[in-house]
């Protein structure tokens, strides 16, 4: 009897769903539910008082979002994050692509060694890296200022001056991250058929023309992937300033995620913090759509 019942259930639910069920329920419980809960919380003033006694939370509609737009710190954080994404994003992709092309060249020896060296920062713990870079940036004894002194540049207080702190963070994160994208680019480069280059050489194309007309267009899917992943990752800038500058000086390195973390887990303003998270989500979503659009248009122009 039980068997018959199971069979009848089976006929209703396709085996597809049965197989998917464990994964789907895990996603539902650990991803979908928290997101919905966070979304609802973003319309309340859930804070430390509400954590103790839920009746002390108020439903306040869109007021968290409205307060965000009036919050100068939020705008500072937003500006810093955009600064970081817009400067560090393209730079880091360019460095990755450049090093990938170098490493893919037939002339380079010890390829594996170089690949390993460039990839090493990616797998190193960020906390350790940040602490080492803090020494590099140290204004009095740091090696960076020591080297700059040779070309006659006066010591710069890298992490202490509001206008230098973000460039310092950008330099460090590019160094830390470019290896990852480089590996992806190398894989993409190796997928480009060699005969295209041979044909181009016969036609008399120079290096730059080869790069412009073969490498770049054929790398387009890889570049799209890399740029989206990089953008999403960079919008979530957190650990670098958290360890190196704590957002300072004068909040010049305060990022959106750091502000969200501070509000949420330091001051327990969960409602406000959730609202910041959703604004960030919308920004990343728009950014991704935008990149798809650009990429499509670019593909047309290449062919």
């Amino acid at each position: 009897m039980v068997v018959r019942e199971i069979n009848s259930i089976k006929s209703i639910i396709s085996p597809l769903y049965l197989f998917l069920a464990p994964a789907l329920s895990a996603i539902f419980i650990f991803f979908f539910l928290p997101v919905v809960a966070a979304f609802l919380i973003s319309f309340t003033d859930f804070d430390i008082y509400a954590l103790g006694d839920f009746s002390k939370a108020r439903f306040i509609g869109l007021r968290n979002y409205l307060a965000l737009f009036e919050d100068p710190l939020f705008w500072t954080a937003l500006r810093n994050t955009f600064y970081f994404v817009i400067v560090a994003g393209p730079l880091s992709i360019a460095v990755s692509l450049y090093s990938a092309i170098l490493l893919n060249s037939k002339l380079v020896r010890f390829k594996a060694l170089f690949r390993l060296t460039y990839f090493m920062p990616v797998v190193t713990t960020l906390v350790a890296v940040a602490i080492v870079w803090r020494f590099i940036y140290q204004p009095k004894f740091g090696i960076l200022n020591y080297l700059l002194a040779f070309i006659g540049i006066n010591p710069i207080d890298w992490l202490g001056e509001p206008q230098w702190a973000m460039p310092a963070i950008i330099l460090m994160s590019i160094w830390k991250n470019f290896g990852y994208n480089m590996i992806i680019f190398i894989a993409g480069l190796q997928n480009i058929p060699q005969h295209l280059y041979e044909a181009a050489v016969i036609e008399g194309a120079n290096r730059w023309q080869q790069f412009r007309s073969i490498t770049l267009p054929l790398l387009a899917p890889t570049t799209l992937f890399v740029s989206i992943i990089t953008m999403i990752g960079f919008f979530q800038l957190f650990a670098e300033p958290y360890i190196m500058t704590q957002g300072g000086p004068l909040n010049s390195t305060l990022s959106i995620v750091q502000y969200m973390y501070r509000e949420g887990f330091r001051w327990w303003n969960m409602g406000y913090s959730a609202a910041i998270a959703f604004v960030l989500f919308i920004i990343i979503f728009i950014g991704t759509l935008f990149q798809f659009k650009i990429q499509k248009r670019a593909e047309y122009s290449w062919y």
């Binding site: 204004p139 202490g160 001051w267």
Partner: protein
């Protein structure tokens, strides 16, 4: 399939039954108290446990160490998931938050019945940090406050044979020190803007209330607060104190190299200072009670330290109380001082020779008689760490004038306190 499931569940049942039987057996012998302590305290308090367990064979204490940097998150998430231990260490400025959460128990009844723990055995200012709305929530375990660390040799050269007694002295000695140094890269005092304490201490000394109307509004643009704030900012403006904080990667080294000569800090730094100021430098530094606004008395400082609190939902409160009484004995407190240099909360412990013979401790002993708590509301942490520090930095770097910065500070603080006003109005 069904058969397999049945078999599987039965075996699970058997396994869990065996386990619960075993654990019951273990628990019958003694009651286990769960105790969370932070950082070094969590590590070294273990050494105090064996004596307690031998004096109380029916009790066992299980210590869990929680790192300081994540302590607050851990405690609050543990509260949210109902996983708090029976007793834990709590920085005394965090007590208001845990009272607001209704996470810790009022200890009035226990203190009243206790033969050993009594308000009069503690420094008044310290005890008061544990009292919220007239009720006691924590027993001071070890205490701290901030005093002036200074270089005797440099102050001597600057014409001061004793540490500055008044604000005026502090300013004059700083001026003199700055004039002594031919190099620009030397400073008289270190007042980093990522430490709110000096700003609040000097404001308290000037008689500022910090918050007003039952702690519902900021009172930072008041005359008294402004006076103190302006006084400290002057040190930065006149180049007597370094503006940035990134030059000083190591305060002890900077102090040893005379990068700065005075620093307002607490007992947690004593050991490191002793370590760095060794050899020739050993007798070249000292601690002193903080200078005050006038010559009649030295100035007030912050009442800091950690307390022991009991979780409201614990069902071992009387056992936990015995443990607290044990940790509050004079011998235990002195033992803890010897292990970790955590200053004893019991005033009588300070009469012991080990503390009397340490010259660096005299300033602390004197200062503890004149300490005050910061406003005891859960929002204070955010006000101090995010807002006061933010606007101190803004004013120090000249982005805003002092008046503008303090008006903006009040505005931000009033926004933070909106919830409190609503709760009190309910």
């Amino acid at each position: 399939m069904i058969w397999f499931l049945a078999k599987f569940t039965t075996s699970l049942f058997i396994i869990s039954a065996v386990f619960s039987f075993l654990s019951c057996n273990a628990n019958n012998k003694s009651i286990e108290i769960k105790f969370w302590a932070m950082g070094a305290e969590g590590e070294y308090v273990q050494e105090l446990i064996p004596r307690f367990e031998s004096e109380n064979p029916d009790l066992k204490v299980k210590v869990q160490m929680v790192p300081w940097t994540a302590a607050q998150e851990k405690l609050i998430t543990a509260f949210a998931s109902d996983n708090l231990p029976d007793i834990f260490q709590l920085g005394n400025t965090w007590i208001p938050q845990f009272v607001a959460l209704d996470a810790i128990d009022c200890l009035d009844a226990w203190v009243e019945e206790s033969n050993s723990i009594n308000k009069d055995n503690y420094f008044e200012g310290i005890w008061n940090t544990n009292v919220i709305a007239g009720r006691i929530y924590g027993i001071p375990w070890y205490i701290d406050t901030r005093v002036l660390f200074y270089r005797k040799d440099v102050l001597n050269k600057a014409g001061f044979s004793s540490p500055p007694q008044t604000w005026q002295d502090l300013y004059i000695v700083s001026k003199n020190i700055k004039e002594l140094s031919d190099k620009q890269e030397k400073y008289a005092i270190y007042l980093p803007t990522n430490e709110w304490a000096p700003f609040v201490i000097f404001a308290m000394q000037a008689g500022a209330e910090l918050l007003k109307d039952n702690n519902c509004y900021g009172d930072f643009s008041s005359e008294n607060f402004k006076k103190a704030f302006k006084f400290l900012i002057k040190f930065h403006q006149e180049n007597l104190a370094p503006i940035g904080i990134s030059q000083v990667t190591n305060v002890y080294q900077a102090f040893a190299e005379e990068y700065f000569v005075m620093y307002i800090s607490g007992p947690w730094n004593i050991n490191e200072f002793k370590k760095w100021m060794s050899g020739d430098l050993a007798d070249k530094w000292m601690t002193a009670p903080l200078p005050g606004p006038n010559a009649t008395a030295h100035g007030v400082s912050l009442a800091g330290g950690s307390s022991l609190v009991i979780t409201k939902r614990s069902n071992r409160k009387s056992e936990v109380w015995r443990f607290i009484e044990y940790l509050s004995q004079k011998t235990t407190q002195l033992e803890f001082y010897k292990i970790l240099n955590d200053l004893p909360a019991l005033t009588i412990a300070w009469q012991d020779s080990i503390l009397l013979n340490d010259p660096y401790m005299h300033a602390f002993y004197e200062q503890f008689h004149n300490v005050k708590a910061t406003p005891k509301i859960p929002e204070w942490e955010q006000i101090a760490f995010s807002k006061i520090q933010q606007y101190a930095e803004i004013a120090v770097r000249g982005v805003m004038s002092v008046d503008e910065a303090l008006i903006a500070l009040d505005k931000d603080v009033n926004k933070i306190l909106e919830k409190r006003r609503w709760l009190l109005g309910k």
